[in-house]
Symmetry: D2
């Protein structure tokens, strides 16, 4: 038995079954770069504090650098018996540089070490995710700009409500993603905190300098309570919550893409490179990408719940349950980032069926509200106007005509204040442009929104 680094107190070796069951190295090896980065900073601090000589520091830093290269070149292979990435690297370091390697762990514990590794990892990934969200926003804004002026039906309850600009619709997603970026940024502030110095749970009696380590790792803040620092996984859960909201937004976008690709909607076409076929039906061309992303929203929801359940009722401080934090986090990062990236590309592969959109925008009495608001400007109370127009709609349904096909006489039968000018408002583009309240669907509002978005994206 080579023996675990913590083996001193034990008479028996760990059961193989237990070794394999408890090992996290299969997945936490992904953290190797951050583990080595953290160890280098810790090493420099120990040397600065006189807990290592500068020769020892050099040897350790060089050894860690070699290990990093070996892992990146694939010449070092992780094994289950090494338990986790921390033990594996420490053991390899000792094999490489001798007993001095055993000096590295002074003043720290795996409990603060794993916390710093995940925080370094997640800091990078949040920044990457933010970039991915931003790219999707850019893609949407480009589409919105390129198609400015195209009118489509605006929906509520999946029923035609009022005509809106296609660009306005796309910019709604820009707004959702803008909030997502805010949440990522808020979360980042709570990720970007150094737990080093907390050691097992109580701090250390060795004269370390936590602030120096934090500076070396570019952490703007230090954790304030060592017990909390080693048992806190809020920052992971908060990130996954933010990711779940992103996926929820994407699921809505994907639902719409799928609907719009259907023969019934026929609003858009996806390029063939973004579709796949059927093993049995030769004619099929399926929008698999948005379907998969819609499905993957459940995956991230599941990870969120899994971590909340895992943390429930755990006494302080560190418990081994916490090892279950990493796989859901890694999978969330991968799922969200891949989904964002492929959607940014997908929008470039959408062809808009503009005639269809505009034709459908007019159907379903979608200008009824315009008449009601026209009546208000003529002095009628809104509720009364609503009722009158409701009756016009019923009349049209029974007569099988559209609102604009009503005669002035017929209009007047429902509301005597109606005059010839009613026909001027029964126009699709005019209707859209009349909705010029802040955030409304008029060309002016949407153009301003696009300009503002471009400014935000270029900053």
């Amino acid at each position: 038995m080579a023996g675990k680094l913590w083996q001193g107190r034990f008479r028996e070796g760990t059961s193989k079954l237990v070794e394999s069951f408890t090992a996290s190295i299969r997945f936490d090896k992904r953290l190797y770069r951050y583990d080595i980065e953290g160890s280098m900073a810790h090493c420099k601090m120990l040397s600065h504090q006189g807990l290592l000589s500068s020769e020892e520091e050099d040897v350790l830093i060089q050894g860690l650098g070699e290990i990093l290269r070996e892992i990146e070149h694939g010449t070092f292979v992780f094994e289950d018996s090494q338990e986790d990435v921390h033990m594996a690297i420490e053991q390899l370091l000792i094999e490489k540089v001798g007993e001095v390697g055993g000096k590295l762990h002074a003043g720290r514990s795996r409990n603060d070490q794993v916390a710093v590794d995940i925080r370094l990892f997640l800091r990078d990934e949040i920044q990457g995710t933010d970039e991915d969200v931003k790219n999707l926003q850019s893609s949407l804004v480009a589409q919105a700009k390129a198609n400015l002026g195209v009118v489509m039906p605006g929906f509520t309850h999946l029923q035609h409500a009022q005509p809106v600009l296609y660009s306005h619709h796309l910019m709604a997603y820009y707004e959702m993603l803008r909030r997502d970026r805010q949440r990522l940024s808020d979360c980042l502030g709570r990720v970007d905190v150094s737990p080093l110095g907390s050691a097992a749970l109580a701090g250390t009696s060795l004269p370390i300098d936590s602030r120096l380590t934090a500076d070396l790792l570019n952490f703007p803040a230090l954790s304030r309570n060592s017990i909390d620092a080693v048992s806190d996984r809020d920052f992971i859960i908060e990130f996954i919550s933010a990711a779940a909201l992103i996926m929820m937004h994407l699921s809505r976008m994907c639902e719409e893409l799928i609907l719009w690709c259907s023969a019934e909607f026929n609003y858009i076409e996806l390029s063939e490179g973004f579709c796949t076929g059927s093993s049995i039906m030769p004619q099929k061309k399926n929008p698999d990408v948005p379907e998969l992303i819609r499905g993957k929203s459940g995956r991230v929801y599941g990870h969120l719940l899994s971590l909340l359940a895992m943390m429930k009722g755990l006494p302080l401080a560190y418990n081994r349950d916490l090892q279950e934090d990493k796989e859901p986090l890694f999978d969330t990062v991968d799922t969200v980032r891949q989904s964002l990236r492929i959607l940014a590309r997908l929008w470039e592969n959408v062809t808009l069926n503009k005639e269809r959109l505009e034709k459908m925008a007019l159907s379903g009495f979608s200008l009824a509200t315009d008449i009601a608001e026209y009546l208000v400007t003529k002095g009628m109370g809104f509720r009364q106007a609503h009722r009158a127009v409701g009756k016009m709609v019923r009349f049209c349904l029974e007569e099988g005509k559209e609102l604009e096909e009503m005669t002035l006489q017929e209009f007047k039968g429902f509301a005597s204040v109606i005059a010839e000018d009613v026909y001027t408002i029964l126009d699709l583009k005019k209707s859209v442009d009349s909705r010029n309240s802040v955030g409304g669907t008029s060309l002016q509002q949407v153009r301003e929104a696009i300009t503002l978005a471009e400014e935000e994206l270029s900053s």
Copy 2:
């Protein structure tokens, strides 16, 4: 048939079954105050914009004020057939002031109205929740201060790890709650946005002034896209996420309270007023309050999932599914706030069994790390020191003695650098005080943490 306010277009009345199934008034009546507040602001804006005369404004404002009073005095009773709080109040207003009541809804829709109601409600509740969190923090800090110096076992894996100050342990919860308050505050920024002016989904053609309405309601910001504004429930989900983390923290605190009350731990006693008895076992005195709160964490987790699932895959903009947002939100607010409040009181009813805590703090070779770190200061590598102390522990287990009962000779058998001064570190209070790294458990660190907390709480 009295008829719905939107009945104009319909030939048939709503089926009673459907009316009852779709009515939200049973729960959304809770928003009445905010609905009236929003309507008053909307009314003033309409008047300012010339869409109402100032006489009409006066009549409407007075009518709304009367309705508010009637509801608060319980003289107005909501009924299912009124659908929701918005329709009920509008209908009542019309009954009270006549046709002019029907002018109020110009330039808005229930879609932006309900959004503004929930935002006003949640803004208040977030501020209240923050106050409740703060009070629990104060209660913890008071306990921490009053018991400064008491030593208890610090745990990892529910095994004795190292001695810590009881106050340090409590302050770990202070830190968790500090992050909770940050999250509430971040969330508040995204709640505090006015959606009024978005109308059904597209804005309105009437010359409204959304900025004025927002100012009247003290909203610092306006929503930027009307389609997004009426279909966005991010702010509710984000709040429930923050609440789920609070409940997770409380579940950990409650788990500890329950453990500590057990005969086996016997660390604390809860006053009788905070316990209940058994219907069959005459001797029982049960810690029901922390048990219930621990259980209620699941409840809030459930609400979080329920809303994420509800929003999944919904096409834009408003869909009736969104009506399912309110009950989980209301129950979350109530659950979290009640739990926080009762825990703040409960801590005042905890009696500490100090002798027991200190006795247990010494058990389980809890000073072993002190010896290892002592060896490091004598120049030994940490990993070597760890192994040597591990062997001492094994020796003590076999001999049935404690570390401090080892002779110097025995110590030297494991590490020749050990000298007489080893006995000076084998002291509980000294051990604690030696952990003086930032955020560590030493008296100095903990005292500073308490002082800082008091400053934060008094601001």
Copy 3:
């Protein structure tokens, strides 16, 4: 202080705050009927075992009967200070019949009492839910039968795949619901077990007869371990799991109803009595009922998670956390049963747009697979046939024609085995009827499925 029934050992009364926080009477009063039923059975058993005289039995049974009537007539009002339905009824009984009322609780505890109450309640509700599912099935089968022969597009990926019978599509839901009923029935077997006799957790030293009580309450089985019996909530979670699957099925059905009602699909129309209007848009007629049910699926998912999280990591036996079982259960029962019932009615209010369905069934080269299978019968390998038909589709897309518009010469260009008879298979009804494999969409298969369903429903 009137005092709690378990007050003997306490010097202080319960804090009002705690009393209100821990009281379950606001919601568990719903169990009153089952609580009384259980108490009557327990009382008869005690008398049979000589633990009560038959005079005492008479007094108690009569007292319990009176309480039942008072509650049902609303003359008894529950209050918070009564803690829960069990204590409230016992206290009322004692007030009514004097000290003999205090004899009822011999040999039982609230721990087994609440378990029996929920089991009696849930047994009834499962049977009711099964009836509701069955009624929805009947409604579907009636629709399927009435519209036998109508062809619609079958979808995969929301793209037209192959034509299917509308009735076949509806019968897919029949099958889902059939599995739901099986799950309810399996669950019922685990609900229908008497926990009485388990007392607090250990059984009782009094000479009770658990089998007699079980018989009186029509429980076919007894719990086998008293510790398990009082801490088991599996049966609730299992029921909610089954309910979550039902809601998932309904969410799919509702999604389709919503899609089909859209202007783009225009497959069905819902009667006005099943729709509601808009506060602002006079023309709107929204399918609120299916939207709400789709949204409510999240609600039941949330309850499932909430209970799983609540139970996680609880030590044996009863813990107060378990009190959190009832509200999610009650709400699940109500949500699922209401949703089932209203959908059963909704299907009677659906008008089918048959021309539209059949027209769309032919679009999108939906008979391509028929040609591929035709080629297989002519001896071609399927993969080769698939490729050839794929190329025909591409050709048609480029030429802007339908498959049936290709000349024989053109056909032969893709596969020389094609003969004049290819045109005979390019017929909608023939295509459907040719899919006569077991469970396929041919008229014969679907007619048999309907007949089988009718038999199952009439049994």
Copy 4:
């Protein structure tokens, strides 16, 4: 471009990005054995129906057999561009045996093929899981039998309630697991159904014999509706629900193991081979295995929710979202089975601290209920008896004595019916044995329970 097997209709190849994003082969390759088994059965059926010659059958069966061997020997490597296990194997088959390989897919689609693969996989895994549960039960029963007679405190609210047999406590878990096996068995009935013949969604026009294929694969039943058959994932969700309940049970068991290992409880000791140490604290010996399993309960809960969310609101029939079913299923199977297996072994590594258990069993006035029930046998009403004993407890607390230390005179002060024989019941073993109601904790009841369990396990 080698090209996808469905490529015919496409002009462009799939984008690499899309290919990688949509490929499931990384995880569904795990199904290879079942995919080949299903293909062999399908092939034999096609031959039997004359859709293949018997020479073609031989070639295909032999080719499939070779592929199976190559995969099992690792000589075949799956690649992303192969999309999924079905396409990869079909392509390999065609490479191996030529164009005849393309005949295999006649009369089926990936939609029914993947359904049959998962059903075959899950049938095996359910049977394996059942075996694992059974082994854990056996381990518990062996412990219960070996320690029959040991008394421990029975808990409610983690407070001492009444003494129980340690074996009775273990047998509570036996019962939970018994229900788990029932649920697995019920679920198996709904897994064990052949979907083959459903093809894409509508069945096939080729003269296949679904019943023959089902027989060859040992499926007792056929799916009854082709649309349902290809879009049904109930059986996966139902299995994960059952698995979530298993993990919930294990989380409770693990919580108790962790508590019992603590210095405060000190009820049991885990052997060193089942514990691990600390990287910093030399004395630590941590119960990592139960901690990890407790944590893993959250993981399975997450998978359950992920699938429910994924299925929500999907229109019929197959949608690509369904591809997200496999990873959660695979991980659930692995998590649950590993957890069960290691716990079965762990119980063999538990050493019981019997003296401690029995000493604690007496503490906390745990025989108070015995006195109350004694008073009932003396004719006192239970509620009155409860009150009297409550007062005795209060008296003892104030006097600092135990119940058995009270004088007869003192006893009589609380209840005059008390006689000398009260002391005979104040005995731990007698108390336990007196709880002889069905399922109670008496030696007789527990011995019978063990015997019954042994019978069940040996069948």
